[in-house]
């Protein structure tokens, strides 16, 4: 019954648009640094590039977050933890892969310990290349994710 009512509401295009707008502008990110793009994570969150303008607030409690920045390479040891963190996050959840190590393994392409691309573990929404990507590129990644969210479910009918 409740589900039916919810689906009915979601059929209204305006309602969906408002939902998407809400999702897109409150992307709180988990504080989980997997690799070495960490300093740039700090730089983009602080005053100069201030990604809080786009609603991306780094937040320590993962149960209240929607977004993971996979910053850099993911080792096999970290991969399990990353998966646990991803599963614990509530829906909707998004992943941005930062840096060439997260995208493809990059410099560690023959390493015995690094996962070759984070998309083998969790689905990735936006790929941001660079080593580490400049804060400008982070901002572009966030903007692209927002555009993607805004289109979500809009072409259904």
């Amino acid at each position: 019954m409740l589900q039916k009512a919810k689906d009915g509401l979601m059929d209204i295009k305006l309602f969906r648009r408002v939902m998407n707008w809400g999702k897109a502008w409150s992307l709180w990110s988990v504080h989980l640094e997997t690799g070495c793009c960490g300093p740039e994570d700090m730089a983009r969150a602080c005053a100069r590039f201030d990604t809080e303008r786009f609603g991306t607030l780094p937040f320590p409690t993962l149960r209240e977050c929607d977004l993971i920045f996979v910053t850099g390479f993911v080792t096999k040891k970290m991969a399990k933890r990353l998966k646990i963190v991803y599963e614990q996050m509530p829906e909707p959840k998004y992943v941005i892969a930062i840096g060439h190590c997260a995208i493809s393994g990059g410099l560690w392409w023959d390493s015995y310990s690094v996962v070759q691309g984070v998309d083998e573990i969790i689905p990735v929404d936006v790929y941001v290349p660079g080593c580490p990507p400049r804060p400008e590129a982070w901002i572009q990644g966030i903007r692209m994710l927002q555009e993607k969210i805004a289109k979500e479910g809009m072409r259904k009918k």
Binding site: I103, S104, G106, D125, Y127, G130
Partner: protein, 145 residues
């Protein structure tokens, strides 16, 4: 002791009246410096298919593919660490670093730059305003102009 507790509050309050340091990025951007290392750009006409860039790349980001009856490198932006080694080693000066740092994609496949895309010049941002750090004063703070 009391002074030590109160002073930070005053200092923080005082800083509220300084200039903002934030670059309002999508509308205003930092001026790229002369050695700004963005994605690598290929000049197909200059390339002599010598493979030296492929051999030196520590990431295997480049590989030779056939394009218009010529072997030229194909660029995987998802692998490149922008280390500049290929640009340095190129004997024909066919490769160069551009100022384009924003080349994110929704798919992994989109990051593979085939030779025709690899050789495109970087997107220009001439119509955006560029700024640098101009004001550097302890009293007025740091600001971009």
């Amino acid at each position: 002791m009391v002074l030590d507790i109160i002073r930070p509050f005053f200092l923080g309050f005082y800083h509220a009246f300084k200039r903002t340091f934030t670059v309002k990025h999508p509308f205003v951007r930092l001026t790229p410096t002369e050695r700004y290392r963005g994605r690598v750009v290929l000049n197909i006409d200059r390339c002599i298919s010598c493979r030296s860039c492929v051999n030196i790349c520590p990431n295997k980001a480049l590989e030779m593919v056939k394009f218009e009856k010529k072997l030229v490198p194909q660029y995987d932006a998802g692998r490149c660490c922008l280390c500049n080694l290929c640009v340095e080693v190129c004997p024909a000066i066919a490769l160069s670093m551009s100022y384009e740092v924003e080349f994110s994609e929704y798919t992994r496949k989109g990051l593979i730059h085939t030779p025709d895309r690899f050789s495109q010049p970087p997107k220009s941002f001439l119509f955006e305003k560029t700024v640098t750090v101009k004001i550097l004063d302890k009293k007025r703070g740091v600001a971009h102009r």
